[in-house]
Amino acid sequence: MHTGLRRITGLLLAVVMAALVVATTASAATARAGVGAASAPACVLPKPTEDDTISIIGRICDTREKPPAPVAGVSLTVVDDTGKPIGKDTTGADGTFAIALPGTTIDNLGKTFKVKVDEKTLPEGAALRNPKDVTRPVTVNLDNDVSVTFPVGELSAEEGVGTQGLQLLVGGIVFSVLLAMAALGLSMIFGTTGLTNFAHGELVTFGALVAFFIDQLPGEIRIGGANVTIVVGVVVAFIASAAFGYLQDKALWKPLRSRGTGLIAMMIVSIGLSIFLRSLFQYLAGGQTHNYSQYSAVQPWSVGPILVTPRDLIVAALGVAVLVTVSLLLTYTRMGKATRAVADNPPLASSSGINVERVIAVVWTGGAALAGLSGVLLGITQGFDYQLGFKILLLIFAAVVLGGLGTIWGAMVGAFIIGIFIEVSTLFVPAELKFVGALVVLIVVLLIRPQGLLGRAERVG
């Protein structure tokens, strides 16, 4: 292959490997630290009684312990739908309580009762995980005893907006780094070929799935005693994505370019490809959400007032290292300069002796590798399914358009703004609407500055 291509992928690979070695050692250390404290009695639900009265039974567990420990001495009251108290109990040493409802099963069927927890009797420093749980409605639908569980955790009222904001900011930065990798590929491909690639999300999913299939192989991959299955998965996903991008360009997009297919036609072809690949991914991986066998439950570190998992830190560090490497390559290598020249003006680049097709092949290879890497890292941090990339495709578009479609630095700037905005905005809007906020930003940007933050006006044509 070409030297430029080889150099870029080689350098990227070195960065990935270096960061992953750090990742394994760090996670091995945390895995060892997490063992211990298993002597307390387990917190289990009381057995329902087989008689013709109904009781509300349940338990109060402290989920800060592993396994959850029972909480004794908490008083609970049951009131009926008019608010009249009809029974009370205090949890015993095993954390359970049972409050019998007056009357027979038939009397109580279909009625709603409320279980109230007396917060004053909870141990010091503890609170219900869900503050709304202080009174919980319970409906009697069956002729069995009704069971409820109250998880108890850290007292969260003291967490101010500032701390919450900081916590969200950290989460936003981790997500932005991954978003930036995906956005960079999309923007470079657009810049050099003019293609708005609706199948870019599937390149992201591809990376996550390759690592998943490596993970699914029987046995573990071990180097020097440490389990490196996922680390190997990340490396293989990165290489396989690069190959996938290169082949996709060679087999599909290059022939289309050379026969002069229009850009809108190519856009619709990319939609067809996206539908095909997404169905294929669902065929191969199923419809459910997956987690890798490692790193799915990691104990967080407290850094000042906030919690950060070592996993997220390493993922973010790896991402930043990759982004910096790509930026340096684009700025200083011949191939990088040629890429920017083609993105700027393909005919002019071509007439000054740059092999445009070669540049495009490099961009497809690199862009797909970046997208695949971002996919596997997203999968590590938050799990994944066959729609992983499709779900964030619009956010990638938002990032790229915000920064300036086709600009390389703009994609990264845009990704950081969108990624951080999405997380921090949950301070003010419900979490389910956080993507909506980002998409509104996208439309507003187009209204005010269609060329994006770093784009030039003539790009919009």
């Binding site: 619709i268 539908i275 609407l433």
Partner: protein
């Protein structure tokens, strides 16, 4: 394998209410994309506004069904204006990204827990189609010999295809008028039209509104068809499927969407039934394909078909290649 049952069920889908829904959505896209060259990827958003307005007016506020229809159309016009203002001056790919984003904003907003009391969250709304069903003239199943529909389906189907016929007539009349010729010339060469003193922006806006209204009709029918509405009816893929319908039949042809919808739904259900039957009777072994996987094969075929169609026959089955200058730049 029971070929007769497979073919008759596939035909039932091909002529069924859902085919009419996709046909209406594709007629709207035909006005946008086929005649004006506007790349609207947010047809699902127009459908959602129409369907949800009708449903919530009846189910949430307890007002008249006909008021729901009228308000649905009105809000669709409003959405088109709102979308058109920032985007119609932009290049085609920007329009595509903004419309797809707008459709997704609408879908996630109506499905949110915060608006649960008006739009029913992810479960959506039911109980809005009593008025519509009380008008149903069929009191038994509609039997056409090879295919049968239940009474409610038959009523939705008749209304749907009547709307399709009226819409086709409207499009035909519009496109042979001087107004339609301006639209087609905007598609071919925007600058030339501008130099003749036409307000291109205003024409594009009118096209966006009219195409959006056909989308709203599709939204009404899809809600009435299942007598329920929820956000998953309006996923991004619905727009893509409507594009496939349009491109199969042939863009910039009045009857293109009709042919496209029938062929699309016939093939989609045929592939589904065929592969599910093949997986169930072990013609294809379980280790290769389970029942769940079998229902995915049709979407793979569809993706490939869309790609091949766009590469080798962008004018579709009935289109005219000369009519279709797909690349605006």
């Amino acid at each position: 394998m029971d070929w007769q049952s497979i073919l008759s069920q596939a035909l039932q889908q091909g002529l069924g209410p859902l085919a009419a829904v996709y046909c209406l959505a594709a007629i709207g896209l035909n006005v946008h994309f086929g005649y004006t060259g506007l790349l609207n990827f947010g047809q699902a958003g127009f459908m959602a506004v129409g369907g949800y307005t009708m449903a919530s007016v009846v189910a949430t506020w307890g007002l008249s069904f006909w008021l729901g229809i009228a308000l649905g159309l009105l809000l669709t016009v409003l959405l088109a204006l709102l979308l058109g203002v920032p985007t119609l001056r932009l290049r085609a790919d920007y329009l595509a990204i903004v419309t797809i984003a707008a459709a997704e904003i609408i879908r996630q907003t109506v499905g949110s827990v915060s608006l649960l009391k008006w739009f029913g969250g992810q479960d959506g709304l039911q109980a809005f189609s009593t008025d519509f069903r009380s008008l149903n003239p069929f009191d038994g199943p509609l039997d056409l010999g090879i295919v049968t529909w239940r009474a409610n389906d038959a009523w939705v189907l008749v209304v749907g295809w009547v709307l399709v016929a009226v819409s086709c007539l409207i499009v035909w009349l519009l496109m042979r008028s001087p107004w339609g010729r301006v639209l087609k010339s905007i598609r071919e060469d925007e600058e030339a039209v501008r130099s003749l003193g036409k307000n291109v922006y205003a024409y594009k806006m009118q096209s966006l509104v009219i195409g959006g209204l056909f989308g709203a009709l599709a939204g009404f029918i899809i809600a009435l068809n299942s007598a329920a509405i929820n956000p998953s009816f309006f996923a991004t893929d619905i727009t893509f499927f409507a594009y496939t319908v349009l491109l199969v039949g042939g863009a910039a042809r009045v009857l293109g969407p009709v042919a496209g919808a029938i062929i699309f739904w016939f093939l989609l259900s045929f592939l589904d039934l065929f592969f599910r039957d093949a997986a169930a009777t072990d013609i294809i072994p379980q280790s290769i394909m389970t029942q769940n996987q079998a229902s995915l094969i049709r979407f793979m075929f569809m993706g490939i078909a869309l790609m091949l169609l766009m590469i080798f026959r962008p004018q579709g089955i009935f289109g005219d290649r000369k009519e279709l200058a797909l690349d605006a730049r």
